[in-house]
Symmetry: C2
Subunit: 199 residues, 2 copies
């Protein structure tokens, strides 16, 4: 049985296809949109189309950008000799928010995952190697996720970057700041021990 009009159904369906939005939330969002002033709904609708049509990938680092080269790559004050490799644009943003990193980035747009058919050639890995030959790079920091896929990708990168004679480092694994040891999993504790530094 259908409780809604077609256009409400359509809206609920589109909403519930978004990540983290279940049928209940989709219904709530749809009703909220229907109660919105018309201009706000139009702005929401337009912002989706705008983002979609204006955003492309930076030709240097493959970050999302509305210009050919993203603001980070265009910034001459940043250290272009250090490249941090991340899986997704949101990882880049996470590191930018620390305000502590002054190098540039390279966004892979995923991690190697044969289970769902993501091979190295589906990622921006070849483009990374090309960058290393063209630019004067002294260090590649691998900041892929600490997952099986992220680690596999890190291994792949380290192999080829080392072959190019460039230093390659991996961000540290360990106990999160503010984390209580008793709630941290064994693998993380082991990594934290392995990666211990002298005080």
């Amino acid at each position: 049985m259908n409780y809604y009009s077609d256009s409400i159904n359509q809206l609920i369906e589109e909403m519930s296809a978004l990540p983290g939005i279940g049928p209940k939330s989709a219904q709530r969002l749809a009703f909220h949109i229907l109660e919105m002033p018309k201009e706000r709904a139009e702005r929401l609708s337009k912002s989706i189309l705008d983002a979609k049509s204006k955003i492309r990938l930076c030709k240097e680092c493959f970050n999302l950008s509305d210009s050919e080269v993203c603001p980070i790559c265009a910034d001459t004050k940043r250290d272009h000799k250090i490249i941090m490799v991340v899986e997704e644009p949101s990882d880049l943003v996470a590191y930018e928010k620390t305000g502590q990193y002054e190098g540039v980035y390279h966004v892979l747009h995923g991690a190697v995952n044969p289970m769902i058919g993501v091979q190295p050639e589906n990622l921006k890995l070849k483009e990374l190697l090309v960058r290393l030959t063209k630019e004067d790079v002294t260090e590649v920091i691998v900041a892929t996720n600490s997952t099986v896929e992220g680690e596999a990708t890190a291994l792949w990168i380290s192999k080829y970057v080392k072959q190019a004679g460039i230093k390659v480092t991996r961000i540290a694994s360990g106990v999160p700041v503010g984390g209580a040891l008793e709630y941290v999993d064994e693998m993380t504790l082991y990594r934290a021990l392995e990666g211990r530094t002298e005080l």
Copy 2:
């Protein structure tokens, strides 16, 4: 500091204005939309505009509808002598999902709430009273929420419906089905006791 391009910022801002979507979720949704195939993003954008432009209020019961009279009011198999009064269209849907109600509805679009300036005249209450004079109604079931505002609205309705000489009932308050007594608040337990029925 701005980590995103303008059009991504705009999209994140519009998304985070939706109910239940915090800044983190808004960012995730925005990135998801950017990764979507173009057609899907266009469909999502269009569904917002469509719902907004096609949906109006049923002239009988003020449910959301894409025709002048909603499918429930247009259904001659339903009992038009019984009107259930609900606060929002989503409440109507909740009752429709039970499949147990055969009457029609009246959607108030809110509840009396002087704190935020919602007075009886801001709701579809006058329209309810007009319906009662024009239609042959034998019972009004008040299914507003079990909140202070919902109860105040229920009182208002019962006063005027009784004056019109029509039977007015209130849905039962009590322990939710499957609920364990120890987790139920005192007010609900009191109501459940008050509303006890003979076995």
